[in-house]
Subunit: 426 residues, 2 copies
């Protein structure tokens, strides 16, 4: 189960998704109810606005939908007090296809408000199929969304389901077990769901205040008021919902893991640097999915690097010749800042310096590193320093690059802002 939904899909997924895009014969938009107050998180910030690696959860979910180019608009419904916060999120993270709508006093009223925007005299075209998803399910994949949309087009309504994790039981009046349900016969109703717009819109128009205030299940409304039996689609485990604090921790770890899978090693032309770069490349390959190496001199219109950035690589290792030499690192910083590569995720940049001397004095470069790190931190680039004691002896050098790789992987997986500007020694 990989949280790639927040990132570009890996080849397999990308392929099927591309196929999906080509085959899509219908105008689709999405409604994202995000009016919740997050009581279950113990008050405080509503969970859809809780930061994950510094970015609000809801931005990851919007991003997961924006990745799908056949979704025209993403209507985000938030409570009045959060409209301004949501506006700033949309602006900061460049969510160009999202539209902010003020929510109601309940989940159903908020969804209803979201749907109304398509019919009120607004410039937003009414879709044939509307997706309804949760703001707190950021790991939703292209494929399940495609399946649910296609099923909705055919059946009028469709929703993702999952097997029950626990047995469901009914209690008697005195709080004792009355009966337990056969797990095989029931499913948990999850998100996303999709509907022919008119099916769900008519259902909301007709349903009563009790439904609007206490109901939770859109599929139920479609059945009750539009006589539409939703098609149920088995979804992947990634549809889980961020509900408790523990789920925020889980989401953060999954996203960390996902953006740690690609590393780019950039080496100085110097012979020793190239050798160390080669050894690092070799060991890092056993830790991550993809390692790319560049030993060319960097320049603004470097196609290799541009492609790597487009490939959503968020981890860079820059091998400089000497402890006092920051040239390569500085070149790369400039390019990263120019391409705004670190808007959605922090970029980890490890400035590796070869040290041929026996002593481990780090007096010379330390201040330079600290200063540069502080500077680039403002643009969400985490810069760390790493000294590698260059050895002529191949065995020894491999040992050292192995421990260097361990440090590099730890820095990449942690993405810990507190250690920015620190100089580690392999």
């Amino acid at each position: 189960m990989e949280p790639e939904s927040c990132l570009e899909k890996s080849s397999g997924g990308r392929f099927s998704a591309k196929a999906a895009e080509e085959r899509l014969p219908v105008l689709v938009s999405a409604v994202l109810p995000a009016g919740g107050t997050g009581e279950r998180m113990g008050g405080g910030t509503p969970k859809q606005f809780c930061p994950i690696l510094g970015r609000p959860l809801i931005s990851y979910t919007v991003q997961a939908l924006e990745r799908i180019n056949w979704i025209s608009h993403i209507v985000v419904v938030v409570s009045l007090d959060n409209v301004e916060i949501m506006k700033s999120i949309v602006k900061r993270y460049g969510h160009k296809r999202s539209v902010i709508v003020e929510g109601g006093t309940s989940r159903h009223r908020s969804i209803f408000n979201g749907l109304e925007i398509f019919v009120k005299n607004s410039p937003i075209q009414k879709p044939e199929v509307v997706i309804i998803h949760d703001a707190v399910r950021p790991f939703v994949e292209k494929d399940i969304i495609f399946k649910v949309v296609m099923a909705a087009k055919e059946h009028g309504a469709a929703g993702a389901i999952r097997p029950l994790v626990s047995t469901v039981i009914a209690s008697s009046a005195d709080g004792c077990l009355d009966h337990s349900l056969d797990r095989a016969k029931y499913r948990a109703s999850e998100m996303p769901q999709a509907f022919l717009f008119d099916v769900i819109h008519q259902a909301y128009r007709q349903c009563n205040d009790y439904d609007l205030d206490y109901g939770t299940e859109c599929l139920h409304l479609a059945l009750k008021y539009s006589k539409t039996n939703a098609k149920l689609i088995e979804g992947p485990p990634d549809l889980w919902k961020v509900t408790y604090k523990k789920d925020l921790y889980a989401a953060e770890s999954l996203i960390r893991e996902a953006i740690s899978q690609q590393v780019c090693v950039i080496t100085d032309m110097n012979e020793n640097a190239v050798q160390v770069g080669f050894l690092l490349h070799k060991t890092l390959k056993s830790h991550v999915k993809q390692v790319r190496s560049l030993s060319s001199t960097l320049c603004k219109d470097d196609n290799h690097l541009q492609n790597i950035l487009l490939g959503q690589c968020y981890n860079f290792i820059c091998i400089n010749d000497t402890p006092s030499d920051f040239q390569k690192t500085q070149q790369l910083v400039e390019m990263l800042e120019n391409t705004n590569a670190s808007v959605l995720y922090s970029i980890v940049l490890i400035s590796v310096h070869l040290n041929n001397l026996e002593d481990t004095s780090c007096s010379s470069e330390m201040p330079k590193l600290v200063e540069l790190a502080k500077e680039v931190n403002k643009t969400n680039i985490f810069l760390y320093g790493l000294i590698i004691h260059y050895q002529q002896d191949n065995m020894k050098l491999e040992e050292i690059t192995d421990s260097a790789s361990a440090l590099i992987m730890a820095l990449i997986r942690d993405r810990n802002p507190a250690f920015v500007g620190q100089l580690l020694v392999a």
Copy 2:
């Protein structure tokens, strides 16, 4: 929601638990089915044996039950191929009250095997009430166990329940929505559950192969075969079950957080060290629940330190006078090793060194630090170095101790073995 179950309870909980222990008029043992193969984790290691901060998940759950001194025996039921693994876990982590039993081909058969151990001519006394819990629910609290046991004594059977997170739906033969259940009327059946021993044992003796092979719900068996309506008890959110990889991440983060709440600062008698210790104490207090300070010279039978260790403090900051002075740190290491304080959780030990010189040369102490760190790492103590540039100017010194505190908190919360032996600079 704090995962203190794996640790000593904080005052509130401890009090109520103590009361509970005093009032307990019944012989209680527990059965912990752990025969699962962990398909849902995508094969590989069964999830109850997956490491969390280096220790298998099941050990945390056993520990949560062992903390309750009125539970006589904890019968851990594992599949034949895991008996040896479980034995080594029991030995390594000192789970003295646990008994290992070989499981059956299904969850119910495993629980049955676990119950049989109490009646087969074994030295283990048959309890009046037996707790059944999941090996993969490590965050269970004393209080809910107490409630469930007491209810079982009164009603014959009892189980923890939670509100449903998702709507539960029934599908028709063609895979479409048939009807959705009213969430208010149903609950998720969780663990722990407890039974009068004879009630559940008789139920297992009578139930058929279908029940044993495909059933999942013990409360259902007690109802069906012993005509006992279990009392249902609303449990806290911490009863969640480690099911997927994301749950392992969540568990790890929660445990990290729980053991990061106490810090002990030990300072050299030297004036500057005491001053820095005082400032660190002040800033750290805003990050954790409890900071204790010791400036006494350490000795083996130091009561203060003994109490701190008994209070389950896993984070120590040792302030040495000069960059080359490791005396205090070495003293502390000896004491920690003598008390086996790091058997269940890694101990983070940060060796702080004052540096009065302007340069940040770290050549002198680096090798000593690396060597010592490598040594203590074997006993699960993570040693890190931290240089603080001592300043006469109070303002400047406070600034530096603030950034030192940020580094200290990051090291404590991360507990990252990869950074062991590294020297950070505040």
